[in-house]
């Protein structure tokens, strides 16, 4: 729920000396992404995607670096980043499993599937396994209603899922 305000007042920012937005990444973004847009701010979503792609999630320090890079206030970057569910402001597991729960998937057995995955991993939706390997989430429509039920595992879409097969898929993930 995008509109739920996340209380960040008083949060301490963990810092490290090494930047998240590395000079190499900056150079790449300056060459490939910034020229696409008439304003720097418009590059914010692609830049957030790029940093998250490298680091897996978006620490506060990374948001500050992105703000400096795009001439924005850190609050503006946080405002945007916190609106979108794909941007992770907290660490997530190595494998993010997003099980679609919208209508076609629910009609085709999503509830049972989610329950089985949840039991197998020993976590409820919204949680990460203690070893940091899997994060389980429910998702709204993934645009795959004709092959329901479906789930995204990181960037890979799994369609027409049968619980036993899917459990085997999860087992093969390194």
């Amino acid at each position: 729920m995008a509109w739920i305000a996340k209380n960040s007042a008083g949060a301490t920012i963990v810092r490290r000396s090494e930047p998240y937005l590395t000079p190499a990444l900056k150079a790449k973004l300056e060459a490939d992404v910034l020229p696409r847009y008439p304003t720097k701010r418009a590059a914010l979503l692609p830049v957030l995607h790029a940093v998250q792609h490298e680091h897996h999630w978006l620490p506060a320090q990374a948001l500050e670096e992105i703000a400096a890079f795009l001439d924005l206030a850190p609050a503006q970057v946080l405002d945007t980043a916190s609106f979108y569910e794909e941007f992770w402001l907290n660490p997530k597991g190595k494998y993010l499993i997003m099980v679609c729960q919208s209508l076609s998937c629910e009609l085709m057995g999503q509830k049972g599937l989610l329950g089985k995955i949840s039991r197998k991993l020993g976590i409820a939706p919204g949680q990460t396994t203690p070893d940091g390997k899997y994060t389980l989430m429910t998702a709204e429509c993934l645009g795959s209603c004709g092959s329901a039920p479906c789930a995204l595992v990181n960037e890979v879409l799994h369609e027409n899922i049968r619980a036993d097969n899917f459990e085997r898929v999860l087992d093969t993930l390194e």
């Binding site: 304003t39 919208s102 645009g143 209603c145 995204l152």
Partner: protein, 456 residues
């Protein structure tokens, strides 16, 4: 009459013309070898205004949900002033039940790129952004692959066959969203494109006047643009010979249902998928012929006609014609995206309503109180009714809350609230006995909020 030849699915094997197993990515060479970019060549031989007039004459209606006539939208642009103008292609496709744009992007992306190029020429737009939902990872890659080919072959970029537009070589980029349904709403999309949260804008100004970066902007759905190439190639009369046409007795100013359309069908059917058919195909035909009938031979109970925002069709609407006039005839919001979700006799409609309310409560952007609070209430009330703890008061409240939220009652900025409103209201109304049987038959004689308002 069924569609004789596929148009959008010409290169995408689809029943009854081909087997989906044979689908593969169609690159630039195969696309041009099979008649691709002919429409663009024809368009480039015409004055921009003549292209707009042709699309207007074809009465191509938007395929993204609202059904607004595309040519008319294009003609709203102000005269050129030498400054930049944009095309935002809506590939956000997040409405539950909808998975049609994905088919075009996966297998025939040049059909979209051709439409984009024609639109840029006609409307004098120098830059196109394809706003694609973040979850479409593979599709974003496919689009980039096709765009690279299009640059190589001078559709876009320096030396483009379109020539310079507004003093710039035309460019086309993929812009990835990040998991927010509301960015499919056209002005939410523009805000997101500008790097902000996807909060829909209050209109006017309309995007044609002040859209992306406060400049004139056209926003069209993927399927709408994909249809433009074939129209340029084969003409408005050809396009209008397909589909259902204009409803009987209405004046020519009423938008009609011309042309073919992609129908996505999912839920309790044997062969779910995307099918191309003439606008106006019967729901029963789509289920029986295309989707190979109801799953496990069960009986039909209900269907969503075009994405969950549109409301529901009941058991007596099995033969409903799926065209742009469906809203008036069948008391639903409209054809929407033509993403049909079919439900069989065993489906619990209370659970369906709860699922839908949860979606909207989750996706409301939170700007407007009636939408933010209303969708949340509906979800909570329906959860209670589903669990067996509801009373008749709850059903009254549901109908009251839903009737009061939306851009049409005039209480919200965008149409998300109307979608939530129609979905819940039509399900409760069309399946009232089922809802009534689930709640305790008590009313508290509580005074309705609407009545309180009226006494002032």
């Amino acid at each position: 009459m069924p569609l004789a030849q596929p148009v959008l699915c010409k290169r995408i094997p689809t029943y009854p013309w081909g087997d989906p197993k044979d689908r593969h990515y169609v690159g630039y060479d195969q696309f041009t070898a099979t008649g691709g970019y002919v429409g663009l060549t024809k368009a480039l031989g015409m004055a921009p205004k003549a292209v707009i007039d042709l699309v207007k004459e074809a009465e191509l209606r938007g395929r993204g949900g609202a059904g607004f006539p595309a040519g008319l939208k294009w003609s709203f642009l102000p005269p050129e002033d030498g400054q930049r103008r944009y095309l935002a292609v809506n590939a956000d496709e997040s409405e539950p039940g909808t998975f049609k744009d994905r088919l075009l992007i996966d297998f025939d992306p040049h059909l979209l790129l051709e439409g984009i190029a024609i639109c840029m020429h006609a409307c004098r737009l120098d830059t196109a952004y394809i706003y694609i939902r973040g979850e479409y990872h593979a599709q974003a890659k496919t689009l980039n692959r096709a765009i690279d080919e299009a640059y190589t072959h001078k559709v876009f970029g320096e030396g483009s066959r379109l020539g310079q537009i507004n003093g710039l070589w035309p460019t086309c980029y993929v812009h990835r969203g990040a998991g927010a349904y509301i960015c499919g709403e056209e002005t939410g999309l523009l805000e997101s494109l500008e790097g902000k949260r996807g909060w829909p804008r209050i209109k006017p100004p309309f995007p044609a006047v002040a859209g992306a970066f406060a400049r004139p902007t056209i926003i069209n759905n993927v399927e709408t643009l994909a249809m433009v190439g074939p129209i340029l190639d084969q003409g408005a009369a050809w396009f209008k010979s397909l589909g259902k046409g204009r409803p009987d007795g209405v004046p020519p100013t009423v938008p009609a249902s011309f042309g073919p359309k992609l129908y996505g069908i999912s839920g309790h059917v044997n062969r779910p998928g995307v099918y191309e058919e003439n606008l106006g195909i019967k729901l029963s035909t789509l289920i029986e012929d295309h989707a190979a009938g109801m799953l496990n031979g069960k009986k039909f109970k209900a269907a969503i006609p075009g994405g969950i925002s549109m409301g529901v069709l009941g058991p007596d609407e099995y033969h409903a014609e799926l065209d742009f006039d469906i809203g008036r005839k069948h008391n639903c919001l409209g054809l929407g995206t033509a993403g049909v979700i079919v439900m069989d006799q065993d489906t619990d409609m209370v659970a369906v309503a709860r699922n839908i309310a949860r979606f909207f409560a989750h996706e409301s952007c939170g700007q407007c109180t009636p939408c933010r609070e209303g969708t949340g209430w509906m979800y909570k009330v329906l959860t209670r009714v589903e669990a067996g703890g509801g009373t008749l008061d709850d059903l009254d409240l549901l109908l009251e809350v839903s009737a009061s939220m939306g851009a049409m009652p005039g209480t919200t900025i965008c149409g998300l609230a109307d979608g939530a409103n129609w979905a819940v209201r039509t399900i409760v109304n069309k399946f009232w006995p089922e809802f009534e049987a689930r709640v305790a038959p008590t009313r508290s004689n509580r005074v309705s909020l609407a009545v309180v308002g009226a006494t002032h």
